[in-house]
């Protein structure tokens, strides 16, 4: 039976290898969270969150403009990206059998995996640059929001499509049998049933976009002042982290960690809340 013993040993080894893989993957997550909290927490104060960044040395200042800028960017991006993304998702879910829809779905999937720096470069050339052939918005909040919505739209379209496809066909038929038109059925019945899934998907997509940095480098540029208008560069949390991290001044490096703590708090808490909520809901509706 020694052959059997070897086989059993291999089996146990395999089990522990699996656990080792998980530990190795989760360890960085733990380290990141720990470091961000340990290094970021000491910087936090109301002052830090509301004042402009200082030049360094004795005057480190705060990340007020970055927080404000990120909020502005997220708002503008949502305004542009969510309607376009959801409507695309509706089309892909409700009319998705046509050859045209299949092509659009594939292209949407391709865009989801786009290198984000390329998006920034494109928006810089098409939207920011003040030359002929470009919109010429300059470094501005809207330029950044356009770049971010290029990333948001395909994600929202995809999750919206999935959420809408989960709506049972019986409900569409019930509505159509009442003599309700298809567009009305889609907007009033299908969307309201898919709402929870849609909101989940949109929140996760927004959380993802909130942390994007690369598309911002060439579109909003960064700013040490609060919002100065729609034709001026804008600060943003991820940009602030990037720029501060490259500084040699320990105070400014600490500011990067403080900004990182805020960013990760927002992004991770959105993720956690959304997933817990989704699980609770699925547990309830799973009965029927």
């Amino acid at each position: 039976m020694s052959n059997y013993a070897v086989r059993r040993f291999k089996d146990r080894l395999f089990f522990f290898l699996g656990i080792a893989c998980i530990v190795l993957a989760v360890l960085p997550l733990g380290s990141i969270l720990l470091e961000v909290i340990v290094k970021g927490l000491p910087t936090l104060s109301l002052n830090f969150l509301t004042t402009v960044p200082g030049p360094g040395g004795a005057n480190v200042g705060g990340i007020g403009p970055a927080i404000q800028g990120s909020l502005i960017l997220i708002g503008l991006t949502s305004l542009i990206g969510i309607p376009l993304g959801v409507l695309s998702g509706i089309y892909l879910a409700e009319y998705g059998d046509a050859p045209y829809a299949r092509v659009m779905r594939s292209l949407n999937d391709v865009l989801t995996e786009f290198p984000s720096i390329v998006v920034g470069l494109t928006v810089f050339l098409v939207v920011v640059l003040k030359v002929s052939g470009s919109v010429g918005l300059g470094f501005s909040p809207l330029s950044g929001a356009i770049a971010l919505s290029f990333i948001l739209i395909p994600i929202v379209a995809r999750t919206a499509e999935e959420a809408i496809k989960l709506v049972p066909n019986a409900l569409r038929e019930a509505s159509m049998a009442l003599g309700v038109r298809k567009w009305r059925t889609t907007l009033s019945i299908v969307l309201s049933v898919a709402k929870a899934g849609l909101v989940t998907g949109i929140l996760l997509a927004v959380a993802r976009v909130a942390g994007e940095t690369a598309p911002l480098i060439l579109t909003v540029l960064g700013n040490t002042h609060f919002f100065e208008g729609f034709n001026e560069p804008l600060a943003a949390l991820p940009l602030q982290i990037y720029q501060d991290a490259l500084s040699a001044d320990p105070g400014i490096q600490a500011r990067a960690w403080g900004a990182a703590l805020i960013l990760i708090l927002v992004v991770l808490s959105l993720n956690i809340v959304v997933r817990l909520a989704t699980r609770g809901r699925m547990g309830n509706s799973g009965r029927k």
Binding site: E173, A177, L178, V180, S188, I189, S192
Partner: protein
């Protein structure tokens, strides 16, 4: 409404309702002494290249319950779904031939199928109330979403529809609970009330009791009998006893063809076709 009612000056509305009281007014060959409410002529239905109905000619009397029976896969549900143009909503599905509603062809090119469905309502196999709406809104949904609520008192219509669906007494104190919070049988009656609220002329029911327990089933069956006072009811069922209990007329479908139809009692007692008899005696299906 685009579907024109056929003008029939020879018969008033009351006469039309009074006329077919004699259950045996229809003779065994299927000809009628009253104008049919719904009539299919050479109706064929397809799923892609598969032909599911091979030319059905069948007349449905006003203010009667007509049952369609047959083994599964015989095309009875497809036939029902062709009667209010729901069939064509299935991807790849098509229908040809004619269906006359009060003599007007609902498959005529200029007819808007959406408007047809407002006159011919449908109740489905599984209760499917709108889960995000309360009971009240479920009943009012059709009127609200079709823009037909203007100038009408929604409260009255909701109450009236629920009463006609024998559900009012059970839910009148909880109209604002979700439509999915009541029992399965109540949900199915809610779906009937939702259909009634549109004030259709015909109500199609696609195996409406197959997901219900016996008590809920008998309530829905009672309801079908009550409803024929106001509406024309067509019910698809795989349950022969149900057909015998509720239907004035019964049609037997087999392999996409109408084999035989007639008054329920005579069809069950003296089927003309051997296939019908074999089915009724449980030798296949």
């Amino acid at each position: 409404m685009n579907v024109e009612k056929r003008e029939d000056p020879g018969m008033s509305e009351q006469e039309r309702q009074r006329a077919p009281t004699d259950e045996f007014a229809m003779n065994t060959t299927g000809s009628m002494d009253v104008a049919p409410k719904l009539q299919s002529e050479g109706l064929r239905a397809f799923f892609g290249k598969n032909e599911a109905l091979h030319g059905i000619d069948f007349s449905i009397r006003p203010n009667k319950v007509t049952a369609i029976i047959g083994p599964s896969g015989c095309g009875k549900s497809t036939f029902l779904r062709c009667l209010n143009r729901m069939h064509e909503l299935t991807p790849g599905a098509k229908a040809s031939g004619q269906v006359l509603l009060d003599g007007g062809n609902i498959y005529a090119p200029k007819i808007d199928p959406v408007l047809v469905r407002r006159r011919i309502g449908m109740v489905f196999q599984k209760p499917n109330p709108f889960p995000t709406m309360d009971i009240y809104d479920n009943v009012a949904a059709g009127l609200k979403l079709t823009g037909m609520k203007k100038g009408k008192n929604l409260d009255d219509i909701v109450k009236n529809s629920l009463q006609q669906a024998s559900l009012w007494d059970e839910v009148k104190d909880e109209l604002h609970k979700p439509g999915t919070s009541i029992s399965g049988g109540q949900q199915q009656r809610l779906c009937i009330a939702r259909t009634i609220a549109m004030q259709p002329e015909v109500i199609l029911m696609d195996e409406p009791c197959s997901a219900l327990d016996p008590i809920a089933t008998s309530k829905v069956e009672e309801l079908m009998v009550q409803l024929k006072g106001t509406y024309t009811v067509v019910v698809v069922t795989h349950n022969m006893q149900q057909a015998a209990r509720v239907a004035d007329f019964t049609a037997f479908f087999y392999l996409g063809k109408l084999i035989e139809s007639g008054p329920t009692a005579s069809l069950f007692e003296k089927p003309r076709e051997e296939l019908t008899e074999r089915y009724l005696t449980g030798r296949f299906g």
